[in-house]
């Protein structure tokens, strides 16, 4: 009797779990069977060698042959259409040419058009799902084979200014641009990137819906650089206007007041240097937006960060103290552009400026985007230089920002610093 009681509960749990798992496996298998003809592999072909240079996934979103994928899958074709061509591979191996119709670099989406091979397509589920709901994703990882993976809808990513779905499944390279859908086969998002082992991100279907409407309304885009420029400009304008409109909170750091966390999507960190070995004390606060917009292999944009460091010392003489400040007087940089076809070199200016009753050395470095007019990378760096044993070092870095927004931000950022005595 005693033994029976011991095994009775685990047995009951087992009896419940086994059928549930079988049910899930069956659902995935059925969904795969039904939906595989709507999912394609997207290939970027290097014209010179005739071989594929990038692979990703895509899926049909209309009867007349519109496909959706990620922008980053087709980006090399966007930037060098003479060097590359676009190709799709159907589940039975049939290949054909695809045409690029529209792109959205901000949400990493692209719309392609092919001669339809069949008339089934994904419809959108634009309603909110509840956390824990079973969702599925399809794609062709590493060019191995088309497959389906299961996971849960884990809500929306908080630390991003863009809505992104957290998917507790493991996406792999090559699955980018593939569909993510609910158990009824309705599209809820598009595979976009991997966070860690079991965390991946999906772009919500609503973003694709908006882009698809635009693509149908405007037709095939003639100048993709113009679309990228307009999208980037609009996105930064929205972001900075919203940031500047807000009431900034203040925080105390040493003898100064500085701005606190400017947006809930930023990640902020802090640390203190006060080891006995080191002859100065430093309190460091830095905040950074987690978002990066992929433009090409050699260019990313949309980053934003700022940080403050309060440095004091009673043990270092003034020369030694300022040697330390000098060592730390370095611009924050995102290392986001690698080629000069994208940006100019930085142009820098250094000035002594009077702020909040103290004297500061300020350096501003700006570079312009060559292909996207009116957008810049702006770096700001300042340190107070009129006390022998204390200073505030502050930095701000903005990438892909307009002149007006960066100037307004700099005004607010500098205006917020207050020396308390």
């Amino acid at each position: 009797m005693g033994i029976y009681r011991l095994v009775q509960w685990p047995m009951l749990v087992l009896l419940l779990v086994v059928p549930l798992q079988t049910f899930a496996a069956e659902t995935a298998s059925q969904l795969f069977k039904t939906l595989k003809q709507q999912v394609y592999q997207i290939r970027i072909i290097d014209k010179a060698s005739g071989n594929k240079s990038t692979i990703g996934s895509g899926f049909q979103i209309s009867k007349d042959g519109y496909l959706a994928t990620n922008f980053h899958v087709v980006s090399s074709y966007v930037h060098k259409p003479d060097k590359f061509s676009l190709e799709y591979v159907y589940h039975d191996g049939t290949t054909g040419n695809a045409e690029l119709h529209d792109i959205d670099v901000v949400h990493d989406l692209a719309i392609l058009k092919i001669e339809p091979l069949q008339d089934k397509y994904f419809t959108f589920n634009l309603k909110n799902l509840s956390k824990g709901e079973r969702i599925f994703s399809m794609g062709n990882p590493h060019d191995l084979s088309m497959l389906i993976i299961e996971g849960n809808f884990s809500g929306l990513l908080k630390e991003s200014r863009f809505k992104k779905i957290l998917f507790s499944g493991s996406l792999n390279a090559g699955m980018s641009g593939g569909p993510a859908f609910d158990k009824t086969g309705k599209l809820i998002g598009i595979n976009v990137s991997k966070g860690s082992e079991q965390i991946s991100f999906l772009v919500p279907a609503a973003r694709l819906d908006a882009l698809f409407r635009r693509a149908k309304k405007n037709g095939k885009v003639k100048d993709f650089n113009q679309v990228i420029q307009a999208d980037l400009y609009r996105d930064q304008d929205h972001f900075y206007k919203k940031l500047l409109k807000k009431k900034w909170t203040s925080e105390s750091l040493g003898f100064v007041e500085i701005s606190g966390k400017l947006d809930k999507s930023f990640k902020c960190w802090g640390h203190t240097v006060d080891d006995e070995d080191i002859l100065y004390e430093g309190v460091h606060k830095h905040c950074r937006s987690q978002d990066r917009l992929y433009i090409s292999q050699d260019m990313q944009t949309g980053m934003f960060s700022y940080d403050y460091e309060w440095i004091t010392s009673r043990k270092l003489n003034r020369f030694q103290f300022y040697t330390q400040v000098e060592n730390r007087f370095t611009h924050g940089s995102f290392n986001n552009v690698r080629k000069n076809e994208n940006v100019t070199n930085y142009s820098c200016e250094e000035k002594f400026v009077s702020l909040t009753g103290h004297s500061w050395k300020i350096s501003s470095c700006i570079r312009a985007y060559k292909k996207y007019k009116g957008l810049y990378d702006v770096l700001l760096l300042l340190t107070s230089v009129d006390e022998n044993d204390k200073t505030l070092l502050a930095k701000a870095a903005m990438s892909g920002v307009s002149k007006e927004n960066s100037i307004e931000f700099i005004k607010s950022f500098l205006g917020r610093i207050k020396w308390k005595n």
Partner: protein, 317 residues
């Protein structure tokens, strides 16, 4: 009648360098009956003869096995008239032919400091200077220290500095030993240590000019000028004590300027046209070094505005 003097190898201060003619004829060759005997296997037993004819010395080549060069030109005629100062190459031997009426350059003034010939000061002064220079080098390092002060490390780097300095001085002393038959070690040590001490003093204020004047270019010019001056002076004294060069200052400053120019070009030519990192003045110095006046935030925003405008117009071009 001028006498013919044959000089072998310019080695300052040696006695047996010159051979002076006696009479109207000088013979030169490997044979022991010659007036000038040269043990060079590429010279014939009877190679050359110099004759005083009609008020001038005439060179005659007696053997044609190897060419004889006067001022680096092969002699084709049977006889050549010698001018004072002609360079003669025979076999593997190089000789200078001088006539007794050849003018001598004016007497150069020796660099005499009394201490250099004083029995004790001769040692004490350079050693004090070496110590002073080392202390300054260590002090420069101390002023740059920002984390834990490690005295052991300072002592080690001070010793390293002494070793390097002594190495430099020894090299010049060896050069002096070869070229002047006198190493002048202590004098070399004094001047080298002195100029390095001045250089270390300057290093303490490295970056101050560009910071104070708010101008990178001005800072670069002043700092390069200082470096050129100090290193040039140091090299000048090194050359003065080790060689017989006539224009030590010119040679020293040209050498330092060329080295600096070379280094500067290498550094700048190697730079990529596109730099993804900003190139800005990062010097931050204590309040006492700040001379420039502060501008207002309003004016600073204007500076940024013009930065944008310049970039925009450069893109249009």
């Amino acid at each position: 009648m001028e006498e013919l003097i044959i000089q072998q190898n310019k080695r300052h201060g040696r006695l047996n360098e010159f051979i002076k003619s006696v009479g109207n004829t000088v013979t030169l060759g490997r044979g022991f009956h010659n007036d000038v005997i040269l043990s060079d296997h590429f010279i014939a037993a009877e190679q050359l003869r110099f004759d005083y004819e009609d008020g001038q010395w005439v060179l005659k080549v007696l053997d044609q096995t190897n060419p004889v060069l006067v001022n680096n030109k092969s002699i084709t005629d049977a006889s050549v008239v010698i001018s004072s100062g002609d360079e003669l190459t025979v076999g593997r031997t190089h000789l200078t032919l001088i006539l007794s009426n050849h003018p001598v350059e004016r007497t150069r003034k020796l660099l005499i400091s009394n201490w250099m010939y004083h029995r004790n000061l001769h040692y004490i002064i350079p050693i004090i200077m070496l110590l002073l220079s080392t202390i300054l080098a260590v002090f420069t390092e101390y002023q740059e220290a920002t984390s834990k002060i490690r005295w052991g490390l300072f002592v080690a780097s001070g010793l390293g500095y002494v070793v390097m300095l002594l190495f430099w001085v020894s090299i010049w002393s060896m050069v002096g030993r070869i070229l002047r038959h006198k190493p002048n070690f202590m004098a070399q040590l004094f001047y080298t240590a002195f100029f390095l001490a001045v250089l270390n003093m300057g290093m303490l204020f490295y970056g101050y000019t560009s910071y104070a004047m708010s101008s990178e270019i001005l800072g670069l010019i002043l700092e390069s000028g200082f470096l050129l001056l100090i290193l040039g002076m140091m090299l000048k004294y090194n050359l003065l004590f080790s060689t017989e060069l006539k224009h030590c200052s010119r040679v020293a400053f040209s050498a330092v300027a060329l080295t600096m120019l070379f280094t500067f070009s290498i550094m700048n030519l190697g730079k990529k046209e596109f730099n993804s990192h900003p190139d800005y003045s990062n010097s931050v110095k204590p309040p006492l070094a700040k001379w420039s006046k502060d501008i207002t935030l309003h004016d600073y925003i204007k500076v940024i505005d013009s930065q944008f405008n310049e970039l925009e117009s450069s893109l249009k071009e």
